[in-house]
Symmetry: C2
Subunit: 466 residues, 2 copies
């Protein structure tokens, strides 16, 4: 496993194909290492340039006067086999091949891919790619994504590990997560997976102390048995959420024209996910929604869910969603109901869903939250906060944040939808690690995933005890 | 039907319970009529105030020296029967009763509701409410929502009509739509529907020239037969999207504690929706997503969908979603494929899904869009635009907007997800009436609704011709 360390924590990086032209990938990748806090040494490799971005360039990786942990290759495909030979000669530890034009295009490309495989076999250089976005590590500031800085939001530090077969999918997600203030620990897009594959990355991420939850986008897995074996171990340590693309006949056909791979029948993947304890995401939305919840909150130890709302209609919608997704609308304990009855005006509804009505104040939400969290009949709480109502002020955020973090063994999921004012409040809640979703159904779906993982953990722990 | 006109186009409005205290609903509602462009006359009614917000107040509606089209009542429940008698005496045409504390609380409240019903019966005053947010008309600037201006975004003018049994649900949606730049024509929240109900509002909205599509949030319908009869006629003129809350046992139970109503079995509603041609939304997200699509785009005349993407993975995900939701991934015509092959570099994929790869430029997206829209094998187009890639500039928005509006008989739905840059681009596209959704699955779901309505229209037209 330490063999993958140089991808994420390199002491020295060579950017092979570094360019002086700011519109080229070779410039953007070099800039990532030079300008954004990476602490190791950086070597631009370009036969014609003396200096790029103020850094001395070398005509070949072989001429760099120190060991190279990581080579990032941004040359066009035909030039790659030659520089891979250079890397092998130099005993470069790891290489990310960004370039496309290999197995996925067939013909000459496939031939080049075989050549590189041969070099890997002989030299032991570890390779991610080709045809990928490469890797990101928000702790060490490694970032091989070649997108213009003004076109995407730079990832922030957090605890989500993200493994994506598709580079394009990965980059849009990273961009989206960053702009929503959701941090990631590590990202790897592995493309044609000529060497390092999803199983190895999954294992590596599972041992990464910065990573709390792992998201995966998968089109096709070659060695299913190995993957299940690895995933089974990983999911006992950390939740893994998987989005499988190519689940239908139409999707599988699209996979073939995308990567040339056979995606395999979905029923097989479904079985594999279930066997391995991977939580399946049916949509892109679910993947990021569920990822955020695991990033910010503990899993649930049961499915008995309390709903607290400022609008009765939302209580109805959340109850519908709970039943549809296998959650139980919890029967609140007598003490809870009694205490709410004493604290609240008579027109509040104090059975579940608890309806604080349009008169709800900050204190009311806080009281209802504290009481339901303390209730032994409740495993998790969904709060639907309507920031539009007159009596609710911004100070509610500190109030509920404190309550959530004091009683942290049960997950709390918030749902709030609205305009500018609500959006501002949502950003403030998320900055305090309270996961917020615009609709009640998305909040409930996420709670169902926290419950599913809790059940899996408890079952695997029990079976280990037998 | 003209009887409902004074709710939305009143020449004169009395705000009964108008207040000088800016934290009170009676102030906010009056302010709505005084400060935001309402062209009619406004009369604050308050026995103690000489003038509010610069407008002369009257101690009773009876003392106003002209006819009153609309009375908005924001007094506490016990005071309402008396002022309703005043309204009757004054021959007020319509009244919105905002106040809660009637049938939904039982006991004294139910008694008051019966009293008001008696007054309505005798006087013929038309009433919306009680226990509601009332009405909004973005053309006439009628707005009875009592929320503090800094807590919500004021609705913009548009063509979505929105009917909501729940006031809280309605207000959050209005707020959300406004901040997303999605305009509405009219909004009505009818609460306890003591007089005007969902069927009457639906009929009224169907005849409103400002309204192109109607969204409904429904908890319980008393007269199902009447509703189906009305809806059947309406859906032949305009699409109606319905979200039924209280679909499960847990949800129905929550409806009872919310409004005291019996929501009825969901199977009945499902049948009724289908019989009436109402497009069912399963979630809040679907309700607004589908509403936006109908607001901006024509419906689809078939289910053969072209997918254009800048990332192969997204093509796979969209294909999966198409098959799952009953859409056909269209087989593009030979001419289309030939023309794309001539226009594009060889590594672009020119079968459906069309993959323009990370090299996609503005011109490539535009060419692919024009060719697929012209293809007789295509009924609608889903474009997944990745704004992160280097060659894509903002000018693409004008380019595709022009193409979409030139060939306007087929719907085009866009999906784009990302950070600040992408979000800026999305806002610009939506300002040009191009509906954009963050995930491919949401875009496909919306296309499926456009297809469903197209099928319904064609079937009902055919059956009318028989």
């Amino acid at each position: 496993m330490e063999k993958l360390n140089p991808f994420f924590q390199p002491k020295s990086v060579a950017v092979i194909g570094a360019s002086r032209n700011p519109t080229k990938s070779g410039y953007v990748v070099l800039e990532n290492f030079v300008k954004f806090g990476f602490k190791g040494r950086v070597y631009p490799i370009n036969p014609e340039a003396g200096e790029i971005l103020g850094v001395k360039a070398y005509p070949s990786v072989k001429e760099v006067p120190e060991e190279i942990d990581l080579a990032v290759i941004v040359l066009s495909a035909p030039a790659v086999p030659k520089v891979m030979l250079d890397c092998a000669e130099k005993h470069v530890k790891c290489a990310v091949i960004i370039s496309g034009g290999f197995g996925e295009v067939g013909g000459e490309g496939a031939k080049r891919e075989r050549e590189i495989k041969e070099i890997i076999k002989k030299s032991g250089v570890r390779v991610i790619g080709p045809n990928c976005m490469g890797v990101v590590d928000t702790a060490t500031k490694v970032n091989t994504m070649f997108l213009p800085a003004q076109h995407y939001s730079r990832p922030e530090r957090g605890n989500i590990g993200f493994i994506s077969q598709s580079g394009a999918f990965g980059l849009t997600m990273i961009d989206y997560l960053a702009s929503e203030g959701i941090g990631i620990s590590k990202f790897a897009s592995y493309g044609n997976k000529i060497d390092v594959d999803e199983s190895e990355l999954l294992k590596y991420f599972s041992q990464d102390p910065e990573t709390k939850v792992i998201l995966m986008y998968i089109e096709a897995i070659d060695d299913g048995k190995k993957f299940i074996e690895v995933a089974k171990k990983v999911t006992k340590l950390k939740p893994v959420i998987g989005l499988k693309a190519g689940r239908t006949a139409a999707g599988s056909k699209a996979v073939i024209s995308h990567t040339g791979a056979l995606s395999g029948a979905f029923s097989i993947y479904k079985g594999a996910f279930s066997q391995a304890g991977i939580i399946p995401a049916d949509t892109v939305q679910e993947l990021v929604d569920i990822g955020k919840a695991f990033s910010y909150q503990p899993y649930a130890k049961g499915n008995r869910t309390a709903i607290i709302t400022g609008g009765g209609g939302y209580g109805v919608l959340a109850s519908d969603a709970c039943e549809t997704m296998g959650l139980q609308v919890a029967s609140l304990g007598d003490t809870t109901i009694k205490n709410m009855r004493m604290s609240f005006p008579p027109h509040y509804v104090v059975i579940n869903p608890v309806d604080l009505t349009g008169d709800a104040s900050e204190g009311d939400y806080k009281t209802a939250l504290a009481l339901t969290l303390e209730d032994q009949n409740v495993d998790g709480v969904i709060m639907i906060i309507l920031f539009q109502v007159p009596r609710l002020e911004e100070t509610i955020i500190d109030a509920i944040s404190e309550t959530i973090h004091r009683l942290h063994d049960k997950p709390v999921i918030v749902s709030s939808i609205g305009g500018e004012h609500t959006k501002k409040m949502v950003r403030k809640m998320e900055a305090r690690k309270i996961p917020v979703y615009p609709t009640p159904e998305r909040a409930v779906k996420v709670m169902a995933a926290l419950v599913e993982y809790g059940k899996y953990v408890s079952e695997t722990t029990l079976s280990a005890l037998k």
